[in-house]
Symmetry: none
Subunit: 115 residues, 2 copies
DNA sequence: GGATCATTCAACCAATTGGTTGAAAATCTG
DNA sequence: CAGATTTTCAACCAATTGGTTGAATGATCC
């Protein structure tokens, strides 16, 4: 797993905000304009524009200008990369599920008895 | 996919920093102390301590105090949740657009009616 | 008891975030 | 052309981030 750290930073950062996750959800249903993305978020145009820019910098959104409208669409690659990053660790915890669960349980037990 | 938004925020935020992802990687190989996590990151103890706290607030790390050492271990649940969130959108790029749209609709409806 | 080790805490700092407003720049419409 | 629409830009603001230091707390070692 060769991660371009800054790129991964930007993707996870983009996803760390509920408004932006909402935009991703909306975009997953199809292309839409910045205005379309602003409306359900109940925020100023400028704020939505900034969020879109964050998604763009993360490579998750593509923008195509058509007249006065900016039409956004979802670009799947970065999401897939992030998913792969997590998947790597998912493998870890499914491989070591027993050991992990045991460790966590022991921790709790130890905590309960005041250690 | 019923997301507790603030919790998801915290997990993705925790993952948006390369140092913290390094800590997750290290922890995936086994428990270690805060000091163990600080060393490869080449930063002050205090800084590492703050990063661990971020991971803890995201529910990704458990801490057990043993004498003067704080021993950290990985808690898999939040990582799995984040992975599921992404997996949901993975449908988008696995060329089944119609099914994704349907899934989004159902999920959104579920959310609207209060989980 | 005193030194040392592992860790947190508190204060501080610069940079970034997520939002606002008001104005500007294009584009469409009558 | 004048107005309305869509969007960005610039300035500002409060809160948060990621780091630093120096001191405080709590084990452990001799």
């Amino acid at each position: 797993m060769v991660e371009d750290s800054e790129k991964v930073d930007r993707v996870f950062h983009a996803l760390s905000n509920g408004t932006r996750r909402g935009m991703v959800r909306q975009l997953s249903r199809g292309e839409c304009t910045v205005g379309d993305l602003a409306r359900p978020a109940d925020m100023s145009f400028a704020a939505a524009s900034k969020h879109v820019k964050v998604l763009e910098r993360a490579g998750m959104v593509n923008r195509r200008v058509k007249g006065r409208q900016h039409i956004c669409s979802l670009r799947p690659d970065p999401l897939r990369d992030a998913s792969e990053w997590l998947g790597f660790y998912e493998k870890f915890w499914s491989d070591n599920l027993e050991r992990l669960a045991a460790a966590v349980e022991t921790d709790y037990a130890r905590e309960q008895e005041g250690r």
